[in-house]
């Protein structure tokens, strides 16, 4: 009895330091999430409605019948695969690998430039790339000077333009992660492979990639989750338009909740975005766990 009492009080004492954090988390993190989940099951509107009511799964049923929603899901996948998986991740690895071979001044210069893009606030980056891609923007000025045909991607291929923007902005992060990972590969192993006559590609495939597998997993996960929730960049560049040709899920959600005033529906879409994010996470977690 005495022992249990003492161990209880000891547990309490030990729990004391984390209590403020737990309270704050519950209040500011779990609270809004629970409230958000609740709203997703109501027909709450920002205007034009006297009373909101509980509607069960109606919002979710509407979503899956809504062509605009399915379009947004598709665009989100395109955006994520293009800009996160192919763009940021691969380019980041390539840059990191090249920089290992580069001389110090080149390394400093390239690193500085890439990181500047990453440090810029999202809205500023969005505006810069908007100015770059605009019809009378920098890219066309360069193309004109080279006597190449000009482009109008913000209008004709907006999803490509915003994907490029996201690559431009986010590659630095992958580069940093991979630089760190590549430095961890023991020199002897690479040298041994070299002595055995393995060429560059074979070394990459059989030595480098397996050894940084965990970093790849972590990096992919962080990149993907961040890319899935990109809003400001696309909003500044295209507002999801023209039409809905660059309307990824976060923009669709914003439009439904705040422009069409359907908070309930918009919140339901937000929850679905969460599901998409967790699906990606599950895949990456698997990738992290399997041994080679």
């Amino acid at each position: 009895m005495r022992a249990t009492g003492r161990s209880l009080s000891r547990t309490l004492t030990r729990a004391l330091p984390v209590t403020p954090a737990v309270i704050l988390l519950l209040l500011f993190l779990a609270g809004p999430i629970a409230y958000c989940a609740y709203i997703a099951f109501t027909d709450l509107q920002l205007t034009g409605q006297a009373e909101s009511s509980f509607v069960g799964f109606e919002n979710f049923r509407t979503a899956f019948k809504d062509e605009a929603f399915l379009n947004a899901v598709w665009l989100t996948l395109v955006f994520t695969v293009l800009s996160s998986l192919i763009g940021q991740n691969t380019l980041g690895l390539a840059l990191a690998a090249l920089m290992q071979r580069a001389s110090k001044p080149v390394r400093t210069l390239v690193g500085g430039i890439v990181i500047t893009a990453w440090v810029l606030p999202e809205v500023v980056a969005g505006f810069l790339l908007y100015a770059f891609f605009r019809r009378e923007g920098t890219l066309n000025a360069i193309l004109d000077w080279l006597h190449l045909p000009s482009q109008n991607w913000l209008f004709t291929l907006p999803i490509l333009a915003v994907s490029f923007a996201n690559v431009w902005r986010g590659t630095a992060f992958s580069m940093l992660v991979y630089s760190a990972a590549l430095n961890e590969i023991p020199k002897e192993i690479t040298e041994a492979a070299e002595v055995d006559g393995a060429g560059g590609w074979r070394r990459l495939w059989h030595i480098t990639l397996p050894m940084i597998r965990r970093s790849i997993g972590t990096n992919l996960m962080l990149n993907t989750l961040q890319t899935l929730s990109v809003f400001g960049l696309i909003w500044v560049m295209t507002r999801g338009g023209p039409g809905n040709r660059s309307q990824t899920l976060p923009l669709f959600m914003y439009e439904q909740a705040f422009q069409k005033s359907m908070i309930g529906y918009g919140t339901a879409v937000a929850l679905l975005l969460l599901v998409v994010g967790s699906l990606f996470s599950v895949v990456y977690m698997r990738l992290l766990r399997t041994e080679v």
Partner: protein
């Protein structure tokens, strides 16, 4: 071991206490928002996204001074919201939901006011208006602008507007078009634009606002100016059927109006589509395209000169000699031959306002005859007070005011029922579809019919 534990607990508990106090402190700080000061009236209004335009800021600063002088000890705090229209509405609605953020006085667009009244965001002003003699000076249509279905009035209008065609006389001369241009049909408008495109290739021939980024401006200045010109004189509302209280789907008029928009952008008579779908196109038209003589014809509102008045930031006093005005014709020239739409803004008091009495006092200050007149002139508004409208100084103060006031005779009002904002968005989507060429007129119209059902809760009637 124990003493160490004891020693660490003390600072820890101190830390916990400090954290909790901090949290509690910041929470209560949020709670005691500036709204609860009984001597301060907080006024929310829309600030132009063009930094050099300060029309409303200047006017309100002046009223604030008068108000504070007349009410010693009271203060007025201006809370500008700098955003394009649609984002302004969203922001205001969010502010109105909580007493902590609700201002005491809010600037509300009449198209949204019924919707916000239904949400319970605003309070009826009847008890104040009954004791306010100046209210009788307001013309009847203006008094009903903010009257809800429950018969109560929720806002004091500060002017109205009409819409028509602005055209550049210089461009017209180069294209060989008359300086006293007055088209009789839609085709004549399009023909003039085609002539400009051919003869003056480096300008935009015709601007018709379109698409979601422009928001309500696209619906009203663009689409409705066309749609309401499709019927004959005295024809019922083409959007809303008053007898069955249902919204109209599947009409030929709707498709005709969409076809006009499609023609403008398909034949490249309008701004480049990527510019037309830029949310700042309105600001650009007023600030750059018209003053620099780069736009032939502009279908737009009566308020444009407010951006060009002295002290506005983009002074352009020559506009009245450079630009001509023409009424927007009906589709085939059917009576009454011209069409206009009217809207306007009102001052309303949120139901969660903490100082409603003081807020109404501020409205009274804004609406003395002298101040009201000052505002109409400053923002190129059309007077809704008969005493101002009759004042020769008001008519003389701005060229063009007579033209736009005369349009009031052939103007239409939007069916601003609670569902209207969502119907408006559906219209913008249909417009955007035909503008980008993503949808044909038929496809866009049937998508509108579908969207209408969810926007209005199935209150839809087919009227071909």
């Amino acid at each position: 071991m124990r003493p160490t534990a004891a020693r660490t607990t003390t600072p820890l508990s101190l830390l916990v206490a400090a954290a909790l106090t901090l949290a509690a402190g910041s929470l209560t700080a949020c709670g005691s928002g500036s709204g609860s000061d009984p001597d301060t009236v907080r006024i929310s209004f829309k600030q132009s996204t063009d930094n050099s335009i300060k029309v409303m800021d200047t006017y309100l600063a002046d009223i604030k001074k008068q108000f504070e002088k007349a009410n010693p000890g009271k203060k007025a705090e201006l809370v500008p919201i700098k955003a394009p229209d649609s984002e302004y509405y969203t922001k205001v609605q969010q502010m109105l939901r909580s007493p902590k953020t609700a201002p005491d006085l809010v600037y509300e667009d009449t198209f949204l006011i019924n919707s916000d009244i239904t949400s319970g965001y605003l309070r009826p002003l009847d008890s104040y208006l009954a004791k306010w003699p100046d209210w009788n000076r307001f013309i009847d249509t203006a008094k009903t602008a903010a009257k809800a279905e429950d018969g109560k009035t929720y806002g004091v209008p500060d002017g109205t507007d009409t819409r028509g065609l602005w055209f550049d006389k210089g461009i017209f001369a180069k294209a060989g078009l008359p300086a006293d241009w007055q088209p009789k049909t839609w085709d004549e408008v399009l023909d003039a634009a085609r002539t400009i495109k051919e003869k003056v290739p480096d300008v935009t021939p015709l601007n018709v606002y379109t698409g979601k980024p422009v928001g309500e401006g696209a619906t009203m200045q663009g689409f409705e100016m066309l749609l309401y010109g499709t019927g004959s004189e005295g024809a019922p509302d083409p959007l809303y059927d008053a007898s069955s209280k249902k919204w109209i789907a599947g009409s030929q008029a709707f498709k005709d109006a969409l076809t006009f928009v499609e023609t403008v952008y398909k034949e490249k008579l309008g701004p480049d589509v990527s510019d037309a779908l830029d949310p700042n196109i309105g600001t650009r038209v007023r600030g750059e395209l018209l003053p620099q003589g780069k736009l032939g014809i502009n279908l737009d509102g009566s308020w444009l000169p407010q951006d060009w008045l002295p002290g506005s930031g983009h002074e352009w006093p020559e506009w009245s000699t450079k630009l001509g005005l023409a009424a927007m014709p009906t589709q085939t020239g059917q009576a009454p031959g011209k069409v206009s739409m009217s809207g306007g803004w009102t001052w309303a008091i949120p139901s969660k306002a903490s100082n409603p009495d003081l807020a109404f006092e501020f409205i009274r200050t804004m609406q003395t005859k002298a101040n009201a007149q000052k505002w109409y002139v400053a923002n190129s508004g059309i007077a809704v007070r008969e005493d101002v409208a009759a004042d020769p100084a008001y008519v003389a103060a701005q060229p063009g005011i007579k033209f736009f006031t005369d349009l009031v005779a052939s103007t239409h009002y939007r069916p601003a029922y609670p569902a209207y904002p969502k119907v408006s968005t559906a219209i913008q989507e249909a417009m955007e579809g035909v503008t980008t060429g993503d949808a044909s007129v038929e496809e866009a119209a049937s998508a509108y019919d579908e969207a209408l059902k969810s926007a209005t809760g199935d209150q839809v009637v087919e009227k071909p």
